[in-house]
């Protein structure tokens, strides 16, 4: 039971798409500098990835790798069309600001490559919750990154001015995104290895005591 739970929740923390696998990092580095941008990217990434991978799970697994890759990319590019139309209603300014990174979400690694690696051996009933947590993992990282970068770079939260003494405007730039993500990634790895070490020591002490 616990093993199954671990597998499903993996994408949220222990095998996070951005922090662990360093995938889909371009929008996080360049566009995650305001909460409004993050909200639009979260909407688009979640909708495109969930629907595309779900439809893609019906593609025969026996097809050659290259054919499956192309089919997955075509599915997500088709799914992108209604998602973009809806986004123009809710986030018209953000779409212009985010620019090319919005359509690029349609060919993200979680859609094009992961169905052939991480989700390949999973049944659909197991794949769907796992996929949801992989998506939530990305959403959480982009939201935290955008919140902190907007706060420290612009002194605002979701566009509302906050009383900040010191601002680091470079944090809102792509180079600031690289450095911030590198630091966040290092912090995440340090915490993850500390937790793993603690769990191992607990397991060892349980074995010795029994």
């Amino acid at each position: 039971m616990s093993k199954k739970k671990t597998t499903v929740f993996d994408g949220l923390i222990s095998d996070n798409t951005v922090l662990s696998s360093l995938m889909v990092i371009s929008p996080v580095i360049v566009c995650a500098n305001s909460v409004q941008n993050a909200a639009a990217l979260i909407y688009a990434f979640s909708a495109i990835t969930f629907i595309s991978v779900l439809i893609g799970s019906f593609v025969p697994k026996k097809l050659p790798y290259a054919a499956k890759t192309v089919i997955y990319a075509i599915i997500s590019s088709i799914v992108y069309i209604p998602v973009k139309t809806a986004a123009q209603e809710f986030f018209p300014e953000v779409i212009t600001r985010v620019g090319i990174y919005f359509p690029l979400l349609a060919v993200n690694s979680l859609i094009v490559l992961q169905p052939q690696t991480k989700f390949r051996s999973m049944k659909r009933t197991q794949m769907i919750p796992a996929l949801v947590f992989y998506i939530l993992g990305f959403d959480a990282v982009i939201l935290v990154t955008a919140f902190l970068r907007e706060l420290f770079a612009s002194g605002t939260i979701a566009g509302r001015v906050v009383d900040m003494d010191t601002l680091v405007s470079g944090l809102g730039m792509p180079f600031g995104g690289f450095i911030f993500l590198g630091l966040l990634c290092g912090f995440y790895r340090a915490v993850r290895s500390a937790v793993r070490r603690e769990n191992r020591e607990e397991a060892d002490s349980d074995v010795h005591s029994s």
Partner: protein
């Protein structure tokens, strides 16, 4: 002076350093110099040929159908991907076995797709770019920029992965910070 100016242009329009496109692929390939060079060359082939095809698609696409652009660009890259794989397969020899992993890694990544969008965007601003050869040249320039960024990363790869770097920052996080510092320096050229 011309070479210096071109070098600065390559840096300041660099896919990785200025737009973070293809960074994940760069990290995957960075473990081995041979892998990195092959990946960078393959990406350059895709960006160059893809940009040429994107020009044709842009000209044929009605102005009200801009939302179809990602789908059409995906079809371009998909067709190139299959054509290159098939070409190498039928050419025979060891080249197919050597090159296929780089082609799989390079075809659908942000660097290639991002180049097609970026070149189209730039052609909208600079009309001198808005020709078939302009697109091809801009695609080749983007690929060369990727190769340049690969060399910049390769130069520090061993140190960023050495035991002297704290375990939590070794590899990916250190490479991100390193690229951030290079990007900050390049930003000064803009």
């Amino acid at each position: 002076m011309f070479i210096v100016a071109e070098f600065i242009v390559l840096l300041s329009t660099n896919l990785i350093l200025m737009q973070a496109l293809g960074t994940s692929t760069l990290f995957v390939a960075a473990g081995n110099r041979k892998n990195l060079l092959w990946t960078a060359i393959t990406i350059s082939v895709f960006t160059t040929a893809g940009s040429g095809a994107a020009y044709i698609v842009n000209k044929l696409l009605p102005s009200g159908a801009a939302d179809l652009t990602p789908l059409l660009y995906t079809l371009i890259i998909g067709a190139l991907y299959i054509l290159i794989l098939a070409g190498l397969y039928f050419a025979g020899g060891d080249l197919f076995d050597t090159a296929k992993k780089y082609i799989h890694l390079s075809a659908f990544n942000c660097a290639v797709m991002g180049t097609l969008f970026t070149v189209t965007e730039r052609a909208g601003i600079y009309t001198s770019l808005d020709s078939f050869f302009g697109f091809i040249l801009a695609g080749a320039e983007a690929g060369t920029g990727f190769i340049l960024a690969s060399f910049i990363l390769t130069a520090a790869y061993a140190r960023l992965n050495s035991s002297k770097v704290p375990a939590a920052f070794r590899g990916g996080p250190a490479m991100l910070i390193y690229l951030g510092l290079i990007s900050m320096a390049v930003y000064a050229f803009r």
